[in-house]
Amino acid sequence: MIYLYYLIMVGLALGLKLGISDLVAIKTVTPDFVVIALCAISMYEGRGNGTIWGLVTGFAEDVLSSGLLGAHALTRTLVSFLAGSIMSYRTLQSAYSFYASLTVGILALFNNLILYIIVIQGGAGWIKGLLMAVFLPALYTMFWALIIFSIVPDAVWERIYKHETAPFI
């Protein structure tokens, strides 16, 4: 049953990112809902299973976004592993939502940086590029993570995870 919740979370995140993220874009800066979903999954599942979810989701994203195949698979894998290593599902609860969002922001920054290095084949204005493609999207993702983690009541996370303590950490 929990995998169904994960599938819904990932599906929703991919749908939001690929379908309507430009509606909430500030200039060219858009939030990365997939990082938020993968962090939420890895927090509970731990880094091992989280890594598998990251790989599969990243590959699906590569195929759906018509971009470079394997780029998202690589970054999502690393982000999920790190999220599973440094966060526990308790950080999702409202009292810790800021810390959870901060971690999501840092992981989004890491994700964007790797993607930027893979995708860019030289070019002008790399400082501006880093700002617009790496730092600001990570900050905006952190903002959205804070909203999502604050709005979703603790009861919903409890219902999704159904356990008092996470199996990992």
Binding site: L74, F81, G84, V119, G123, L131
Partner: protein, 270 residues
Amino acid sequence: MSKLGKTISYWRDYLILIMALTLSMSVLFFANSSRQLGGIHTVTLEILGRLSTPLASLRVHVNLAEENRTLRHQNTVLQLKNAQLAEAYYENIRLRKIVGFKTDAAYPLMAANVIARTNEAAMETLVIDAGAAQNVKANMTVVAADGLVGRIVSVSPSYAVVQTLQDRNFRCGALVQRSRLQGVFQWAGYDTGLLSGIYLTSDVKLGDVVVTSGINSLYVPGLKIGTVIKIDDADFGLFQRIYIRPKVELTSLEEVFVIISESAAVGTGR
């Protein structure tokens, strides 16, 4: 549990990570030129296109009243301009005849709606609802009323992906319309592009219009790219750094035109 089992169990997470990284890097380095994976892209583009179409029409309806007002105003301005241009057009024909110039070929245009937009970590693409069924091919030029938008990089039967000029890997031959100086246009980030390869002593002024040069043969010549907003001529050796503000506003783009040319290469351009 055997010793091997315990060891595997202990290192399980790291083994999964190593296998996942190996798999994703193999796909990244070896699979991007594969024809079969190109097929997967085509199928998913088709599915994604069908899912995005209702969202695209929703976007159009949100701004309809404001857009109508703007278009009415633009229409009046353009009517007046059109009258002037018609005069200039006939004068141009007459003068060309006098000096023996050949007439430029007209480019057939295919109208298409923008149904999705991806912008992340420097990848800037649009999905449009015109594909192979409408004779759209990879590397065809995409324009809007204000000028160059980009080029087709991937095509499915009913949809196509456009690499826009705001993509960090976009390059095109460009020239300053007034002084005919040629350089290479690329995206510099945020809201400006960069025209490189223009010497320090060359004649470029703020407000100069930059158009495609047609030199790299991917883009037809004379398509408006943008205007010069900043010239940086210090500390960069032999060349100026010329910053361009594009004419096309990609964030509000709803309709584009594909220039249907037979010379466009088949296959993915990315």
